[in-house]
Symmetry: C2
C-alpha cells in the first residue's frame, strides 16, 4: 500500500480479509475492524488521502491503456445483504475517482431477454474495457445466492454455475483484469436498525422495499449460500474478501485499500509519447 493512506493499517487488508482455506463466515464479527489501528476520525482522513492516490492510479491506468498494448483493468464485484452499504461504497469510494475512468453496472432482477440467455450473458456485456475500473453492484453471484435460496433454478444448474463463474473469471484475469470480490458483512441486528431508519425518515422511504423483510427472514439460508460461494469460488486468481461492515467508515476504507492494492499491482505508468515531441512542438508553434 502507498504511504499516506497506509499509516494506520497494522496489517495488509488484502491478506486479513481474504477468504482462504477453512474460512467460516460465521466466525467473522461484523463489528470488527481487522488491521486498522485508527478510529473513525483517522478513518475519514485516511479515506481522503486514499482517494487522491486512487484517482492518480486510475488516471495512469487509463492513460496507459490509451497508447500501450496493455489490457489492464480492475473489476470490483460488490455483494451484500440489503442495507449493508454497497451504495455508500460506490458514492464514497468509487465516487472519488474521475467518472471518465469508471464503468458502473447495477444488476437488477434479470429481464426476460436476459433470462433467455445463459446467466453470464448480461455479465459479459459489462466487463470493463482496458483502462477502466468496472464496478458490479450485484453480479453473477446473484445467480448462486438468491438463485439458490429462492430456488430460481434447478439444483444441478446452480451446481454448474460455480465452475462456470470460475472459468469466466479465469478468462478475465488471463486477459488482464484484476478482480476484487467483496462481500460486505453486516449483522442481522445492524440491518434491522438500518431498515428501521429507512421507515422512520420520509426522505429514506424510497430506499425501503417490503420485500427486504421477506429476504431478511431467509438470513440463515443466505449465509449458507454465501458460505458455499466462498468455498467454491474464492480462487487464487479471483479471491473473495469478506469485509465487516457494521462500521461504514471501516468498510469504505477497506474496499479502498483493496482497490489501491489491485492498482498498485498493475503499477500503471505514464506512457511514452507515440509521436516525436520536438517535431510536434515545432508544428504547434507554427500555427
Amino acid at each position: 500500500m502507498t504511504a499516506k493512506s497506509q499509516k494506520n493499517w497494522t496489517g495488509d487488508p488484502a491478506d486479513l480479509l481474504r477468504v482462504g482455506d477453512g474460512f467460516r463466515l460465521a466466525d467473522v464479527d461484523p463489528d470488527s475492524t481487522p488491521g486498522y489501528g485508527g478510529g473513525k476520525k483517522h478513518g475519514a482522513v485516511d479515506l481522503e488521502a486514499g482517494a487522491d492516490e486512487l484517482d492518480e492510479l486510475q488516471e495512469r491506468l487509463y492513460a496507459q491503456s490509451r497508447t500501450d498494448a496493455t489490457d489492464a483493468s480492475v473489476l470490483l464485484v460488490l455483494q451484500a445483504m440489503d442495507s449493508a452499504g454497497k451504495g455508500g461504497i460506490i458514492r464514497h469510494v468509487v465516487g472519488s475517482v474521475d467518472p471518465q475512468g469508471v464503468a458502473l453496472t447495477a444488476f437488477k432482477k434479470p429481464t426476460e431477454e436476459e433470462l433467455a440467455h445463459d446467466f453470464l450473458w448480461r455479465i459479459e456485456r459489462r466487463v470493463p474495457e482496458p483502462g477502466f475500473i468496472g464496478v458490479f453492484d450485484r453480479s453473477q453471484y446473484e445467480d448462486v445466492l438468491i438463485g439458490r435460496v429462492r430456488k430460481l433454478a434447478a439444483a444441478e444448474e446452480i451446481e454448474r454455475r460455480y465452475a462456470a463463474i470460475n472459468d469466466f473469471e479465469r478468462r478475465l484475469t488471463d486477459a488482464g483484469t484484476r478482480i476484487v470480490k467483496v462481500m460486505l458483512h453486516i449483522s442481522p441486528d445492524e440491518q434491522k436498525a438500518r431498515l428501521a431508519e429507512r421507515l422512520d425518515r420520509p426522505d429514506k422511504h424510497w430506499k425501503y422495499n417490503p420485500g427486504d423483510v421477506d429476504e431478511r427472514e431467509l438470513w440463515p439460508a443466505y449465509m449458507d449460500a454465501y458460505q458455499t460461494v466462498f468455498e467454491r469460488t474464492s480462487t487464487d486468481h479471483a479471491p473473495w474478501h469478506v469485509i465487516p461492515a457494521n462500521r461504514k467508515w471501516y468498510a469504505r476504507l477497506a474496499v479502498q485499500a483493496l482497490l489501491l492494492e489491485a492498482l498498485e499491482d498493475v503499477d500503471p505508468q505514464w506512457p511514452a509519447a507515440t509521436f516525436d515531441v520536438e517535431v510536434e512542438k515545432k508544428r504547434l508553434a507554427a500555427t
Copy 2:
C-alpha cells in the same frame, strides 16, 4: 438558483449564456466571466457549495423516478474544441454527483457498425433513463461539426441533420428530459498554451494527439460550423449555451449553475411511500 451557490452571481447564467436571436460566436470573449461577481477563490467555494446542492437534487431526482410515474431526467451535452476543458467539467462538476445517478457517454469516432446506421442511432441508445443525469462528451453535433468541416457527408445530408437533431431533441424533452447544451469556448491562443503544456509534461503526453494540430488549423471553419449549429439548433426546448472557457474555474461554475437550474426546474420531491409504513414497522419489529 439556490441560496448558497448563487450569492456571487449578479445575473442568471442561463439567460446570460443562452444563444438567442442574433447571437454571434465571434462576439463572445473567451476570457470573460459573464454574471459572476466573485473571482477564482470565491469560485472554488461556490463550486463546493453547488456540488452539495447538485448531489441532493440528483438523489431526489433518482428517488422520484424509482416510485413515481415521472420520466424526468437531465442530459448535459458537451461540445468544444480540443483542450477546452470537457474533461475538467466531467471530473469536477459531474464527478461531485453520486456515480449511481450519472450515465456518461464519450462519443468517439464512429465505428463501422455505427456508420452503417443513421447518425442518431448510437445517440439514441445512450439517452439517459428517468432519474439520471446523462452526460454526452461529444454528441450528435459532431456529425454537423467535424462532419461538415471535414466533409464526411454530402452537403444535403449535413443539411438534413439539423432538422433531424431538432426533432430528436424535441422528442426527448417531450418525454421529460431537460437538455442542457454547452459549448466551451476558448481562444486559439489559450488552446495553443494548453497543447504546449501537454507537450512539455511527460505525464500529459498521452493527452496529446498530432491530429489536434491538424484540427487547430481548421479553427475558422470550425467556428463557422459552430455558428451554424447555434443558428439552426438553439431551440426553445433545447437552447445552446456558450460558456467562455479560458478560465476553467468560471466554466465549471457556469456548467454547474446550468445543471442546478435544470434540476430546480424539475423540482424533484422525495416520493411518498408506496407501502403502509406502520404495517412495515411491525413486520420488521417481528423479525
